[in-house]
Symmetry: C2
């Protein structure tokens, strides 16, 4: 039986990878991934063979990885952040049977977690992760999930807040949340996490509605108790005696 690893590489910097991810990639004959992610980690694994496919070619990329594993090579499919969360573990697991491949998923630090650490501690308690991309999920489902999270006062981490075709999606998301939360609600954005020009910014929910996010931005919408402490976004754990 052939073996395929699906590896979450974290945000893209070497130090953000787990020891397991590094060891798995070092032990691989071939690393397969989206072009941008391959370019990000290539310097850390010199001499290693890489195979990349452009964006939107996810299934092709999965089949490429599985074909190569079938030939007896140790293959790792890389994903930015975690291997599962908006990642390739799921389509690989769906296709693996066809190729008789055994799949091992190697977890990584997803952008909600790495971005939160840069901002402070917005995700201290219960939270919801939502992607605004409606390529694979109907827009109504996404809006229903945002509304449910807003209503129940959970912090919201927003992936894919914007793209060329979806310039106003973050505004629509904020408008839904504004039905339940104050315009002064503490929000934060983390951009280019673990990469060049990494930056964070705190802003109110009203300001976030006007914010020009790009596809390298992860957005955090605080709940009713989230506050700013010395420039950091903090959702208190709730220890009364702090």
């Amino acid at each position: 039986m052939s073996k395929l690893y699906v590896v979450g590489i974290g945000a893209g910097d070497y130090e953000g990878m787990t020891i397991r991810a590094v060891k798995t990639l070092e032990a691989s004959d071939l690393i397969v991934g989206y072009t941008v992610y391959c370019d990000l980690i290539r310097p850390y694994f010199p001499g290693k063979e890489f195979l990349s496919t452009p964006m939107m070619r996810e299934i092709e990329r999965c089949r490429l990885a599985l074909e190569n594993a079938k030939d007896g090579r140790v293959v790792s499919m890389i994903c930015s952040g975690d291997a599962g969360i908006y990642g390739m573990a799921s389509p690989i697991l769906e296709l693996a049977e066809e190729y008789g491949a055994e799949v091992e998923v190697v977890a990584g630090v997803t952008a909600a977690v790495s971005g939160a650490a840069l901002l402070g501690s917005p995700l201290t308690c219960d939270f919801t992760v939502v992607s605004l991309s409606d390529l694979l999920t109907p827009a109504e489902t996404i809006e229903r999930r945002i509304e449910a999270a807003a209503q129940s006062d959970t912090v919201i981490a927003v992936y894919n807040p914007s793209s060329k075709k979806r310039a106003d999606y973050l505004r629509r998301c904020c408008e839904i949340v504004l039905r339940y939360r104050s315009p002064d609600t503490v929000c934060g954005v983390a951009r280019n996490i673990g990469r060049e020009r990494q930056e964070t910014k705190l802003l109110t929910l009203a300001e976030l509605a006007e914010y020009a996010a790009d596809m390298f931005t992860t957005v955090f919408i605080g709940n009713s108790s989230t506050k700013v402490i010395f420039g950091r976004m903090v959702t208190p754990r709730g220890y009364g005696h702090v």
Copy 2:
């Protein structure tokens, strides 16, 4: 200004730590944490000074770390999983001003992410993370969040599903979800992640309601599209042509 690191150590095995977490702890003069977590990582950092306090002594632990950092030592406060998610980053950030400390949060792989990788890929798309512990969050708030997530068809990752005092909390959580989802909904549990006697189990939502979870269990409740593929729990990404 003194400096304090809050470090997410992942599930507890060395390979689950990020390179940054390992480097930060290696560069620390003192590592502070809950007794169990200190014991977990002590073998990886021989000769390093550790200071531990038992459970429920969180604020005392934070002050201990901040006091030591004030004395000019490089101090790391460790948290299992991530530093922020149900971790110590938030109380440390709240107290840091009092001690004039600069705080750096080092992200780690939280149990929702490491447990999901062991099960397959349950958290592929939108999901909600909820803790059933009502020590710091009112039970009504927790139930409202479970209901909101259940209603909006997001996958739910459940932390702290049980304790001696809360033996029936997981059952109550499942009863809420059962109002909106089929008893056959695919669920999974991951126990002792990254530690001795690590185990995973797939079960239906009806079975989960009867499951005797302990405090080392992380629970995953699938959404309407989650399925079992060769013994793995998979929420499809939604690529139609798989």
